[in-house]
């Protein structure tokens, strides 16, 4: 361990709450998104317990509505969207491009405080009557009829949006202006490309949800009629504006995870990544095309057949850059020297689950089929394969991959591998039955179901308890490793990125001298300087521990 690093450079609560160090802010985010993950997880647990019996085991129908709504709001706005960008992105982006910090360190801290204020409003809503509109806040239910605490929740999500916008702005400017000498655009790690693409959605999509929720909030507070048909407004307009952000928001969740996978795969296949520029370009393509597919959430609103047709075709287009990534990752594995370290298990799991999630997305983009499975558990299963099987697997995999860099310590590898497998099994057992349930016609968001669906629901609940174990294990051993883990050294895997050439944990300024980049990315064949050939031997550069 280096004698001085960003964790021990200064002490005291003020040095954390007023820090402008991107690495410390990343850790502040890590703690807060983990908190919201467990809040959302608690609601999910109650949902799954409730659905053990056809008539519902636990709560009243009204409470059930609140459970799935609060699960969605906590998970989407306060965990999934900030998770990889604000934790891993914040920590890694400046180091990966050889900068001392983000372009605007104080704005970075501000965005964390905005997140906290937004989160505070939402928790206030949850604890004073709850929220029962669905995470989608559809009007006029949210703006007129709901008796739950909609107003503070809308204010909270509105405020939280500015946290995303500022993070996106910071990342884009940083990538443009803060790169180290020699770090050209096509030498950027693919994780950075993914963060850049995500940031485009942050800055162009988030303002639209902000204004939409503002209008819906004004409508509720002052009885206006923007989206209320009783007063001449148009509820479908709300859905258009909502999904204009909220479909791209799905790519906010999955793109950064794809970036993580693009880092892990070449490291543990000991090969340069296949088709670097195509993976980089496909991130941008997903971000751009993602803005033109939103109305596939609205095939049943009575929109014109022609516009539905156009949105259906455009939605299919997203499959192309997504498939480009999957094929390129697979090609990277081909004839690679693969080792199954924990991050790699998550990456391989990601590919499989994303494949299922992505392909079932095509079912839903298909006009005719979507009418059959619209608003059923098929949709629930599909987006959990993308968001949990994809985004969360990527996030947890990334945490494992960079944990030695963040904390300077190694986690217990054997236990971590077991946890990864437990998570994978638990996930599939939870959500695969939901595909079947949906296809058989079980609608989402109902508190009860016909008795013939019970077997599949019990399977899903059983899976959820295994899944919960799969999340608790890393939580425990990662925390344990901060104190008792073996010292990691600079480059434990070893990997080629710039972040692996500085200390673990890094200095406050990231590098002693600004690095100069003279090599191509993922060049696992021509980097003897990193000792890459001798896999598995940690290079203890500053080994004074």
């Amino acid at each position: 361990m280096p004698r001085e690093h960003y964790l021990n450079a200064t002490y005291g609560i003020r040095s954390w709450l007023l820090t402008t160090d991107h690495k410390r802010i990343a850790l502040l985010y890590l703690v807060s998104v983990t908190f919201f993950f467990f809040v959302g997880g608690a609601f999910a647990t109650m949902i799954r317990i409730h659905l053990l019996t056809p008539t519902g085991l636990l709560v009243t129908p009204e409470t059930y509505n609140k459970l799935f709504t609060m699960h969605g709001v906590a998970m989407i706005f306060f965990f999934l969207i900030p998770s990889i960008p604000a934790v891993l992105g914040n920590f890694l982006l400046p180091i990966m491009i050889g900068a001392k910090d983000l372009a605007f360190p104080r704005i970075n801290l501000l965005s964390w405080y905005i997140y906290l204020v937004g989160g505070g409003f939402v928790l206030y809503s949850f604890s004073t009557g709850g929220l029962d509109t669905g995470w989608t806040f559809y009007t006029p239910l949210s703006s007129v009829y709901s008796n739950s605490a909609v107003t503070p929740a809308v204010i909270g999500v509105f405020i939280n949006g500015f946290s995303s916008i500022l993070t996106g702005l910071n990342f884009i400017v940083t990538v443009h202006t803060m790169r180290a000498p020699g770090m050209t655009w096509f030498r950027l790690p693919l994780f950075v490309w993914a963060q850049y693409a995500t940031s485009i959605i942050f800055i162009l999509g988030t303002p639209v949800i902000a204004i939409t929720l503002l209008l819906a909030g004004l409508e509720r507070m002052f009885h206006l009629g923007f989206f209320n048909p009783a007063l001449g407004g148009d509820p479908i307009l709300f859905q258009h504006l909502f999904w204009f952000y909220s479909h791209p928001a799905v790519y906010i969740m999955i793109l950064p995870a794809m970036g993580v996978i693009s880092e892990i795969i070449p490291t543990f296949a000991r090969k340069p990544i296949f088709g670097y520029s195509f993976i980089a370009g496909s991130s941008i393509a997903i971000a751009v095309i993602g803005f033109f597919v939103w109305a596939h959430h609205m095939f049943l609103t009575g929109q014109s057949t022609y516009s539905a047709l156009a949105f259906s075709l455009l939605s299919y287009l997203v499959a192309i850059p997504s498939a480009v990534k999957v094929f390129n990752w697979t090609s990277t594995l081909y004839k690679g020297s693969i080792s199954y370290d924990t991050p790699m298990l998550y990456a391989l799991g990601f590919i499989g689950l994303f494949l299922i999630g992505g392909l079932t997305g095509l079912f839903l983009a298909c006009l005719g089929l979507d009418i059959h499975i619209h608003d059923t558990y098929f949709v629930v299963a599909h987006f959990h394969y993308i968001m949990v099987g994809g985004a969360v697997m990527g996030y947890v995999g990334g945490l494992h991959f960079w944990w030695p860099k963040i904390t300077g310590k190694l986690y217990p590898e054997a236990l971590a591998r077991i946890a990864a497998v437990v998570l994978f099994i638990g996930f599939n057992l939870t959500f695969f039955p939901q595909f079947l349930l949906g296809y058989l016609g079980m609608p989402r968001r109902y508190h009860s179901y016909p008795p013939e669906f019970q077997v599949l629901n019990v399977m899903s609940t059983a899976g959820a308890s295994i899944l919960a174990l799969g999340y608790l294990l890393p939580m425990i051993y990662l925390t344990w490793s901060m104190r008792y883990g073996r010292v990691a050294g600079r480059n434990p895997w070893p990997a080629t990125g710039l972040e692996w050439q500085t200390d673990s944990p890094p200095l406050t300024e990231n590098f002693e001298v600004t690095p100069e980049v003279t090599w191509e990315p993922y060049d696992y064949e021509n980097r003897p300087d990193l000792g890459l050939a001798i896999k598995g031997t940690p290079t203890l550069a500053h080994g004074d521990d």
């Binding site: 360190p105 884009i172 202006t177 803060m178 004004l218």
Partner: protein
């Protein structure tokens, strides 16, 4: 407070610091376009649904006050542009004068806006608050004209909020300018706040015809 043109630790050169700030401001303004865009979309849809109602409701706003405000705001953009030029040319006195002129014009705009809002209050045209379009207006007319006024207040209100933020920034600029902080080598805050001010003006250039000039020919 940082002295004139201090280099922050994360940058290597002043040039890099300036470019970074400028790019950041442009990206921020692009988010603002989308932010207002949602409301323009809502306006467009409602106007195409209720063209006659919108025309009728629009005629109750005082045109000449809006027109004067448009001129005031364009003039403030001019003084802001002159302020940016003064800071680049190193004319410190002139910079302060132009900044104060911009602030005064901005306040005049807000004052006139306040007069207009008061008129609407007197006429019972504030949505959701004793709203009555005309003495004997039917339920549908009341509801649909109220949509127009909801948009009127939401759009001009959000614009006014941006003006107030801009005025706050101008006050800070004037204070710093009087301390002689801005030089030809370092005037990034003047330029960036100038960009923001122009953006807020441009929003008004769209709002004025959309809200005041429906069928007025």
């Amino acid at each position: 407070m940082h002295r004139t043109g201090e280099l922050f630790g994360q940058y290597k050169t002043m040039e890099q610091q300036r470019e970074t700030a400028s790019l950041g401001m442009w990206i921020f303004l692009s988010t603002e376009v989308l932010f207002f865009g949602g409301m323009f979309m809502t306006y467009t849809l409602n106007r195409s649904t209720y063209p006659d109602i919108f025309s009728e409701a629009s005629k109750t706003i005082t045109l000449w006050l809006g027109a004067v405000n448009t001129i005031v705001l364009i003039a403030s953009s001019l003084t802001m542009a002159m302020a940016v030029w003064s800071s680049q040319a190193g004319k410190k006195k002139l910079l302060t004068i132009f900044l104060i002129a911009t602030l005064v014009l901005g306040c005049v705009f807000l004052g006139i806006k306040g007069v207009e809002y008061h008129q609407k209050y007197v006429e019972h045209h504030i949505p959701g608050w004793n709203y009555q379009f005309e003495a004997n207006a039917d339920v549908a007319t009341n509801a649909h004209t109220q949509l127009f006024f909801s948009l009127y207040f939401a759009m001009t209100g959000l614009h006014a909020l941006h003006m107030i933020v801009g005025a706050g920034l101008l006050i800070w600029l004037i204070k710093e300018s009087m301390r002689g902080r801005f030089t030809p080598a370092y005037n990034t805050p003047v330029e960036n706040i100038g960009l923001y001010w122009h953006f807020v003006d441009i929003v008004w250039i769209f709002l004025f015809p959309l809200l005041y000039l429906i069928d007025r020919h």
